[in-house]
């Protein structure tokens, strides 16, 4: 199973990024092979609006079934939910530690956005 973690760097030792839409990038970790890859999010990091939606698309297109991040907004939630991605919230730590926490079942699943959007509506 593939897990996406919002990350501030390119490897498992990097800190998790508490933001989702404007995360610097994503570590895509495969729990079966224990291999990982990095997806850059620079375009959304700088986008004027709709960053959450496009970041959700990165996660979905990478084939991740689980997302580990700090905060999730309403439109990103809608997009991820439409593709049945499970969203787990973590406190700031390293990517590696957050994956370990997930393996131990310590991360809390969210069934709604935990922060409000930046552009009205929803």
């Amino acid at each position: 199973m593939k897990i996406a973690v919002t990350a501030t760097g390119h490897d498992l030792e990097s800190s998790t990024d508490p933001r989702f839409g404007r995360a610097q990038g994503f570590i895509i970790y495969d729990s079966e092979t224990e291999e990982f890859s990095y997806v850059d999010n620079n375009q959304n990091y700088q986008s004027v609006q709709g960053a959450g939606i496009q970041s959700a698309k990165h996660v979905i297109d990478a084939g991740a079934e689980i997302l580990i991040t700090g905060n999730i907004g309403p439109k990103a939630y809608t997009a991820l939910n439409s593709a049945n991605v499970t969203i787990l919230l973590c406190r700031e730590s390293t990517v590696k530690d957050s994956i370990e926490s997930w393996k131990k079942g310590e991360l809390e699943e969210t069934s709604q956005a935990n922060v409000s959007g930046h552009w009205g509506g929803m």
């Binding site: 709709g50 979905i60 809608t78 439409s82 593709a83 552009w119 009205g120 509506g121």
Partner: protein, 288 residues
């Protein structure tokens, strides 16, 4: 004749000047309409005594997707500059609150999966206070499509020869301000002698330069002995339309909702200068 009042920084006195200029020009026998295009927080109406207002609801077209026809090609997503569309699991999904109603996705979709529907974004109120007609655009709470509503306010009262539209702009230098000042014959930028205002004024001037619009600056809340702002404008060779003095009496009158007569009376010479700029622009525009 379309005259916009803009500033960059908020709170420098755009609405104050819009109201005073409208009343001054009206008292000089002009046919004046005041358009409040600060649709996210319109407040010129607070100072108008209009009685009943006429209302018109404004809509904007937003695409709707028929998932049975969508082939997930992603053309719409690629085209949308506002991230309002995303192809998720093979189907396009629309986030209507991010849409700027350009209509491009509907034209680009080759599978006929998209059509437009109208969504309500705000209201235009029309009233009159004596000889001044005034229009107010008010964006619905939670909506972000202010340029669409601003465009409708401007369309509601088109430009006519012999008439003057005074257009109160939203603050800032982004889409709402640009939609407001676009195609105006002259822009007055209202600035105050503060670092924030001067910073934003410079951005507003750059914006208007790029748009090729004529403008001059009204220095508001001017304090005696301070010349940083006027010095900056002189150095840039920017026309100073008027200098309005900082006044506690005026602030008190503003708080009571009755400042217009006092402002015009105490700064009559400055309003005559503004009138002269408008008249000279008018002669040029109406010759063309």
């Amino acid at each position: 004749m379309q005259i916009a009042i803009a500033s960059g920084k908020g709170g420098t006195g755009k609405t104050t000047m819009s109201l005073a200029i409208s009343h001054f020009l009206s008292s000089r026998g002009n046919d004046v309409t005041l358009l409040d295009c600060d649709v996210e927080e319109p407040n010129a109406g607070l100072f108008m005594h209009s009685g009943s207002l006429k209302e018109r609801r404004v809509t904007t077209p937003v695409p709707e997707i028929d998932p049975s026809k969508c082939i997930g090609c992603g053309v719409c997503e690629e085209l949308c500059q506002y991230n309002a569309l995303a192809v998720l699991k093979g189907k396009a999904v629309i986030f209507p609150e991010l849409c700027h109603s350009c209509g491009g996705c509907v034209i680009a979709c080759s599978s006929g999966a998209m059509k437009e529907r109208d969504v309500e974004i705000g209201t235009i109120f029309t009233g009159s206070d004596g000889s001044i007609t005034h229009l107010t655009g008010k964006l619905d709470i939670g909506k972000i499509q202010s340029p669409g509503l601003i465009g409708e306010v401007k369309k509601e009262k088109k430009n006519h020869i012999g008439k003057i539209n005074i257009i109160d702009s939203p603050p800032g230098n982004s889409c709402p301000m640009i939609e407001t000042v676009r195609e105006c014959d002259h822009v007055f930028l209202v600035a105050e002698p503060s670092p924030f205002s001067m910073n934003d004024l410079e951005l507003a001037m750059e914006t208007l330069d790029k748009m090729g619009l004529k403008y001059s600056v009204i220095v508001n809340k001017a304090k005696e002995g301070e010349n940083e702002l006027t010095g900056f404008l002189e150095k840039r060779n920017t026309e100073i339309a008027a200098v309005i003095s900082d006044s506690l009496d005026l602030a008190v009158a503003y708080s009571s909702g009755n400042f217009i007569d006092l402002l015009i009376e105490s700064e009559k010479g400055e309003f005559e200068k503004i009138e002269e700029i408008i008249n000279s622009r008018r002669r040029i525009v109406e010759c063309q």
